[in-house]
Amino acid sequence: MTSSPGVPVTDAPNGLVWRQFDHWRVRWRRTWRGSAVTSFVLPILYLLAMGVGLGAYVDEGGGRESLGGVDYLDFIAPGLLATAVMQTAVGASTWPVMGAIKWDKTYFAMIASPLRTRDVLVGNLGFVAARLAMSAAVFWLVLWGFGVLVMPWAMLAVPVAIVVGMAHATPLFALSAWLERETGFMLVYRVGVVPMFLFSGAFFPISQLPGLVQWLAQALPLYHGVELIRGLTLGRPDLLADGAHVAYLLVWCVLGFVLADRAFARRLAG
């Protein structure tokens, strides 16, 4: 081998995160088509089946009043967007994270380089944010095609959707780095993700639920995402309530990040 002069190490922490750009870009190139198609086709199916099909019955049956004077299609569309980014976040923050620790062990390769565990965490979360952005943008275009977006507020739905996704991603990164075995994911799916998906106000208002369940739904991040995005796509955000929703989602993001940071350090560099 020829030896060329060593390239100096950049000490700036940002530099270390950005050095992963090609790593995540190459991984993205392998998967983006599949996820773009899913993000495009699934919302169309959901909107046709539930928004249009089921919606016809709901609207006929006097549902409009109990939904606050909106058609079921308009009601459910933002709910579907919020649940979709939640699902994308769950997918990107569970198996891939455990895999990079347990199976491929690619994180261990990364931290053998100048990267630190936190750089790897931030880089991977950045990748998840990019995936969320793409899914949300594609979904948003479909909603636009169905004519359920009220401008200009609806423009904010995509950036807000990214925050909703990240509020799920960061705690799940912590969980995935903390779990020893993938069987834990099954439990999280059954008692966490699936009930949250069904009972967070995406498909019907949570006021229909018993008090305790309502309270549980409000503790989890998805409900706040649904409410926020619905206000935006219907073109009538409630600035005070929505500010509280955003703040609550950010708490999940930050707490999740702190826990994930610890779990990564313990698991990778312990």
């Binding site: 081998m1 190490v9 491929d104 053998a112 380089s113 630190r116 312990g270």
Partner: protein
Amino acid sequence: MGARPLGQTADRPDVADPPLDVLVHARGLRKSYGQLEAVRGIDVTVRRGEAFGFLGPNGAGKSSTMRMIAAVSTASDGSLRVLGMDPATDGPAIRARLGVCPQDDTLDSELTVRENLLVYGRFFGLSRAEVARRADELLAFVQLGDRAGARVEQLSGGLKRRLTVARSLINEPELLMLDEPTTGLDPQARHLLWDRLFRLKQQGTTLLLTTHYMDEAEQLCDRLVVIDEGVIVAEGSPAQLIRDHSSREVCELRFGVDDHDGVAARLAHLGERVEVLPDRLLVYAADGESVAQAVHDLGLTPRSTLVRRSTLEDVFLRLTGRSLAD
């Protein structure tokens, strides 16, 4: 993060700063995982340009030690300087100058062979053009040039190992750390890898490796430590270790009987030492042939007799009471 210039003293009055040509300086190094003490106070000094080995059985603490030196895992106790810096504070600056071939191939199985090198080189801050140049060079170096476009998933274990070694060289490291580099390789691939490592050493790269294999340790290492249950039990060059801890020759005897211990008692006076293994007896003596003759004269008829030189395997058996191959 404050990357200290090479050689500057850390804030530890108890540790004198090692000289500049010392790349690894460990004193009383320990690693615990909860209740388990995997590394229990080891001292190691690795000088620039040498090939240094850790020889030890499963669970001895070799990988744990390697990970601490590689500035990935934090030491539980003791002092450690790598390339003149403190891994606890200067991890990124140290790792920038290390090459690491971990025990498990940590390759990205979804990417191609070449992509694995390209993205990895970027972690070291190398430009795209530079990593591309080095990737092609390294693939040729480990004879993987024709598989550049293959997905890593499709590679055999041996080819993955070679790719991992190639990847560890992408930053032209001063210190190359190889954790069991040839485990799982066929003989031909092992010799290829030994040849490559030897060439790197000729070019001035310092090698630090762990192995289970005697022949590997003898071939590659200038100096090695035998490590067992987290402590160093011997240190020296392969020849020196054999001289110090074993006889010149060994007579290996296989008997068809179950009563190896009984036979061993009758043979005890023939050599300096007799070891009883599950399948054979080892009689240690300066002259193995005369032991074989004496066994015959005693009226014993071993199924097979083999006289050979002592190896590191015998040193290991002597020091730990166990065979390395377990």
